[in-house]
């Protein structure tokens, strides 16, 4: 091939923009894992990041069926719309779904409810048990480095020891796009194909690809009450407490997490375009706005990751 033809072809291919580059990178990561691991699984919460993750995974192996199962850690505190969405997605694409249930662990005493009633930290044990019992060796997550300072330090291929722990001082160097997935029996690798995406990239991609999301991401009328500056939905997790007033407001969720710790924001953004404008203008991060669990301490996320949390 002459240099002239190469140059000619390089011209006029401007459709390979940032989103296309991020998509190609994520697809490359999915295929590397499929090529090198025995039993990968995709963590799927029904949130926007894991929905985009699944969308990319389906693309990576098209027209073949997805060679991975899904794993959902169900805290028992999920919003009903999210569980409904999860089940519809599984049905639509004919996927296999594993569910690790925090409720089961509380029922038989393997876990104890926390005094504050927050179940997000309780997910770690059922998650690690499920990884062990199913011998999953690669676990995809929708984590993004722009979410939080300790997430910013996460490798795309992140080795976890037999206890599921992350050790930030012992991370492998990650060079070029050569991912090292070697691990000893009992260890597993967490894989983050969306590492280099920002919240805005996710929404731009959702709009461009017309990705269907759980309905709670779009503005809707909902009975909510205010706590710690967040708008909470009443549910099995309790609330409103004394002094907290239930009122119907136009809200949407920016992240999906436990009903007891994740709040909605007041919003009229009912479609992707309106949400893109809202996210671009927001002066708060998605976690700062609506995630109670990250407010626990300066290093809350790092501490949970060291325990085996995502």
């Amino acid at each position: 091939m002459t240099e002239a033809t190469i140059t000619e072809r390089s011209v006029g291919l401007s459709d390979f923009d940032t989103l296309a580059a991020l998509e190609s990178e994520a697809i490359h990561i999915f295929r590397e894992v499929a090529g090198e691991f025995e039993r990968p699984v995709i963590l799927f919460s029904g949130g926007k990041d894991s929905t985009v993750l699944l969308h990319l995974a389906l693309k990576a192996f098209w027209p073949a069926p997805l060679p991975f199962a899904l794993l959902h850690v169900d805290t028992g505190h999920n919003l009903p719309e999210v569980l409904d969405f999860r089940d519809r997605v599984v049905e639509k694409y004919g996927l296999r779904l594993h569910v690790a249930s925090v409720e089961d662990y509380l029922g038989d005493g393997r876990l104890t409810e926390r005094p504050d009633g927050i179940r997000n930290p309780l997910q770690t044990v059922p998650l690690l048990d499920s990884i062990g019992a199913n011998r999953f060796d690669a676990v995809f997550g929708g984590g993004r480095r722009d979410e939080e300072r300790s997430r910013a330090k996460e490798r795309i291929f992140s080795l976890r020891n037999a206890f599921g722990q992350w050790d930030p001082k012992r991370q492998r160097p990650e060079l070029w796009n050569l991912y090292n997935g070697r691990h000893a029996p009992g260890e597993h690798v967490r894989v983050f194909p969306l590492s280099n995406w920002t919240e805005l990239d996710i929404w731009r991609y959702i709009a461009r690809e017309n990705v269907e999301l759980a309905t709670i991401y779009y503005a809707h009328q909902r009975p909510v009450y205010q706590r710690d500056g967040m708008w909470m939905t009443p549910g099995v997790w309790g609330g409103p407490r004394d002094g907290e007033v239930l009122e119907t407001r136009s809200v949407r969720y920016r992240t999906v997490g436990d009903g007891s710790t994740t709040g909605a924001i007041l919003s009229d953004a009912a479609d992707n375009e309106a949400i893109l404008a809202e996210v671009a203008a927001s002066r708060l991060t998605e976690r700062g706005a609506t995630r109670g669990d990250d407010r626990v301490s300066e290093a809350a996320m790092e501490d949970r990751k060291r325990e085996g949390y995502f």
Binding site: E23, R31, P63, D146, R149, A152, K169, L175, N177, G288
Partner: protein, 441 residues
């Protein structure tokens, strides 16, 4: 111009990298109110009167304890003109491997020096590593210029002293980078104060001796290749990642070869050669879930459907026949040794090149590079952590590699510990080291 720039920082401990990165995020309005609140709270807790911007990026417990950066962190910011992915790397000698990690994918590196210290041993070490890795563009941020000339009696005299210091550092750095093979237009020195924000987002009136762009102006406008391969000197390189065989009623006979184009471009009708077998065939289609492509270029993940039913599996490379690399089973390479235990001749390791992982035996260690003298000592006994050296390697299955200087993607490899699985070396195929020594890259 590419709308995405991948960059990294490098420099030694305490020269203000984290503050600079915090400042870049802050000045591009990439820091949101709750993050500022958190940093302000933490700064007050530490007894500081102004927010410590380094706390925006140093997020690990151990980093906050020691006030240093331990591991590479990736940051994202954007201006109306460009998006940026920044690998913020630690400066501590112990963590040079993380600098290698951050710089391996960078199109530009911002190297920091403290204006009071100038070009030091670590600057020379980092510049040599960046030269080896083929980082196309370099910025020297001469930080803390506000601390220069403090003893002078007048503002004029202070500025004259600062101008002199900046000119001396610039001259020394230019000489270093020229020796290492960069041309002058690829290197820019900027006097900055990350703490005050001088010459970061806007040009400062406190540095009248400097007439160039601010750091962000430069980052927004510096030309880089979109695919970040280093050069366009090689044709198609497509490491086969995964064979797509649906075996579904809808696609009973479909067989596609999935991968990310590492170099060059491909179009239906192109003749190709499969390496290492040497079998020739033709591209029938380029498939994606969004439809067929008329052409696909480096960086894009696609699925190739070939005209003939040939035996191809993960690890093979599909290449343009005109300039296809000769598959190698023995070759010379430059390595940055990243393992805690030293490398000795005869070591049995794993080598990952593209999508192929194969067994490897290290032969002779022919050189160890001295980053201070920018020269090599022959026949070392071993390579220790952070050493750069030249070795010969023999592999069980041949690899279709290009010289690293021709293409960063197809000329790079990892050496992996077969027992523990750790990444032990960053490998560069070919005679990269000699090029750095004599400055001819």
């Amino acid at each position: 111009m590419s709308d995405l720039l991948r960059l990294a920082t490098a420099g030694s401990v305490d020269d203000g990298k984290s503050t600079l990165v915090g400042r870049l995020l802050y000045d591009t309005k990439s820091v949101l109110a709750d993050q500022i609140d958190a940093v302000t709270r933490a700064s007050v807790d530490k007894g500081l009167s102004t927010p410590d911007l380094s706390l925006l990026v140093d997020g690990l417990r151990a980093e906050r304890e020691q006030g240093i950066t331990i591991d590479v962190a990736y940051r994202y910011f954007a201006t109306p003109r460009r998006s940026f992915v920044l690998a913020d790397t630690p400066g501590h000698v112990q963590y040079t491997r993380n600098t290698v990690s951050g710089a391996s994918t960078a199109q530009l590196v911002i190297l920091l020096v403290d204006a009071r210290k100038g070009v030091i041993e670590q600057t020379r070490r980092h510049a040599a590593v960046l030269a080896l890795l083929g980082v196309p563009k370099l910025v020297l941020a001469v930080n803390k210029v506000d601390l220069i000339g403090g003893d002078e009696p007048s503002e004029q005299a202070q500025q004259a002293a600062a101008a002199k210091v900046f000119a001396e550092i610039s001259a020394e750095f230019s000489h270093l980078t020229r020796t290492l093979g960069w041309s002058d237009e690829d290197v820019l020195e900027i006097p900055v104060s990350a703490l005050r924000g001088d010459n970061i987002a806007t040009r400062s009136d406190k540095t009248p001796y400097y007439s160039g762009p601010s750091l962000i102006e430069h980052l927004e406008s510096v030309p880089v290749d979109a695919d970040n391969s280093g050069t366009h000197a090689v044709g198609l390189r497509f490491p086969v990642q995964y064979v797509i065989r649906p075996r579904t009623p809808e696609y009973p006979d479909y067989r596609g070869y999935a991968g990310q184009i590492a170099a060059g471009s491909v179009a239906p009708g192109d003749e190709v050669v499969v390496l290492p077998s040497g079998i020739r065939t033709t591209i029938e289609r380029i498939d994606t879930p969004d439809g067929e492509l008329a052409v696909a270029q480096a960086g894009r993940s696609v699925t190739l459907v070939l005209a003939d039913d040939v035996d191809i599996s993960r690890g093979d490379t599909i290449a343009s026949p005109g300039d296809a690399p000769e598959p190698l089973d023995t070759f010379d390479a430059t390595v940055c040794w990243l393992g805690d235990k030293p490398l000795h001749p005869g070591a049995r390791l794993l080598l990952k090149h593209g999508t192929r992982t194969t067994q490897a035996i290290v032969g002779a260690l022919t050189e160890r590079f001295d980053e201070q003298r920018l020269a090599a000592e022959p026949n070392p006994d071993s390579l220790a952590l952070n050493d750069i050296g030249r070795i010969s390697v023999r592999v069980a299955e041949p690899i279709a590699a290009d010289d690293y200087r021709a293409n960063r993607h197809t000329g790079s490899f990892l050496l992996i510990d077969p027992a523990g699985g750790n990444t032990l070396a960053a490998g560069l195929v070919g005679d990269v080291l000699t090029a750095v020594e004599v400055g001819t890259t």
